[in-house]
Symmetry: C2
Subunit: 300 residues, 2 copies
């Protein structure tokens, strides 16, 4: 990736992140009373997330000729779901992580019970966000389809299945099929859906949605491989969590199975596949291509 | 309540429960692979719940001239949400209950991590159930409104807020305002919404929805008061959980604040208010009235 392009995509991501942050902040300031539960929810929601998933929704929407400012509720809801999943993943009975994005994880600050409830509340509020505002030119039918896509990707056929398999696979022998299942479900499903929902809300045709699904699947795997590599190579300050924790927990990862260099090569191949999948899209899809390339170059 | 009426309402509830059970069973048999996560979800889902909430949805729908067989997805989804809330409430960091409906609670069988995930999965799958099937004559707009009602009642402004307050209120001084807040949110919100959603899906007019809201609010409080009384007076076999556990945990309850007899009187008053609220409804609302009367006569 050229320095100039890297600089531009960083600026693009920063601007989009600000839009998402502002939307979520306003949504919560209008609706939430000052309670411990609210504090626990917003603590993790504003703990420095990159907002990759909602940005993908907006960027995919734009690539399909949509108007991203009209679909902020959908993008925001996906970020709420992502945040809930991190809170629950960090719990003592799950991955038992004390740090997340450089800060004490939710249960270290609010206790285990409140962290579970903050996760439950964020997950449920995502569907309130998705169903509350229908005056923005999105049809009720498209809205329902987006809700279906998101809940299906986040639930027992998607993200939760991946986390369940991840928990069960700890301490077991490394196995490529299990690893693929975990990545595809735990991280991949919500990333792919973020891209698909943007397209669906722009009324994209099915063949474009399929191309974007292929794009999403590939960047999802590359993103997870890079996460695993960063867990080994990154430093705690940049990453905001302790490095080497996967190895300590004997987590099933790409580097554990193939070594770091082979894993990095695989990530690059997936990024090429992602870009290839949307090669027939116009220059409006340029940010999607740049995001794909940036995923394998990030250091946090 | 006359013996004859009690017999009829028991039969009515049994038949409706069978309809709900059959629907949920079919839904899951069509969709779920054989995994530990699936086993954990269905373990609690088919652990002998009374299905009060989905039955209220069907009964309210019928009282407003709807066709209950068309809204089973909505009724079923509410039961999934109720089940998730029980699994999470029983966790060691929450109420730490080993028994639920006479069986070991979810985390005693599947472990804490899998119980958290089973709850997450049921909550998310509820929204898949709500958004998956739109070919039953319910408009997309009504569907979206039902999704909004349900998520709002279950989330940080409803059920989760009640559970959070309940956790925070343990060991604190008994206080009627806090008790009212907890009951209204933790149990009341989802019960009221079960009734409202039935009406909304029958395209009831706003004044009827308001009357049914009043009905729902009142039976919700009466139901919770009776739950608290049964925790003191019931026996473990009938109730399926250890009695006296509220007192041991110094839970804020009606009997703790007013004594058993005063609490029972209050429950009866709420049932009278509930029946009064729908006095102008036709004989189609008779099952709603009978359910209200039965709530204060049940022994489990």
């Amino acid at each position: 990736m050229q320095i100039e392009e890297k600089c531009m995509i960083k600026e693009y991501l920063k601007t989009r992140k600000e839009i998402v942050d502002r939307f979520i902040k306003e949504y919560f300031s209008l609706r939430s009373p000052s309670t411990t539960l609210h504090d626990a929810m917003t603590y993790s929601l504003f703990a420095g997330g990159k907002r990759l998933r909602p940005i993908l929704t907006l960027t995919s929407n734009e690539a399909c000729g949509g108007e991203p400012e009209k679909i902020l509720h959908y993008a925001g809801a996906i970020e709420l779901i992502h945040t809930y999943s991190l809170i629950h993943d960090d719990l003592p009975s799950m991955d038992d992580d004390d740090l997340r994005r450089g800060k004490p994880s939710n249960h270290k600050v609010f206790g285990e019970a409140m962290a579970i409830l903050a996760g439950d509340a964020l997950l449920t509020e995502a569907f309130t966000m998705l169903s509350c505002c229908q005056s923005n030119g999105i049809s009720s039918a498209s809205s329902l389809r987006a809700i279906y896509e998101i809940s299906h990707a986040a639930g027992p056929h998607g993200m939760v299945a991946g986390q369940a398999e991840d928990i069960l696979a700890e301490e077991s022998e490394p196995n490529f099929d299990t690893l693929t299942f975990i990545h595809k479900h735990k991280t991949g499903a919500l990333i792919t859906t973020s891209v698909r929902v943007g397209a669906i809300l722009a009324d994209a045709d099915n063949s474009d949605i399929e191309s974007l699904t292929e794009y999403g699947n590939n960047i999802g795997i590359a993103f997870q491989i890079m996460d695993d590599i960063l867990d080994i190579e990154g430093n705690t300050a940049e990453l905001g969590k302790k490095t080497g924790s996967d190895e300590k927990k004997k987590k099933l990862t790409y580097p554990a199975l193939f070594g770091v260099e082979q894993s990095r090569k695989k990530a690059y191949t997936h990024i090429e596949n992602a870009i290839e999948a949307i090669s027939h899209f116009s220059e409006k899809a340029e940010p999607l291509r740049a995001i794909a390339r940036y995923i394998v170059e990030r250091n946090h």
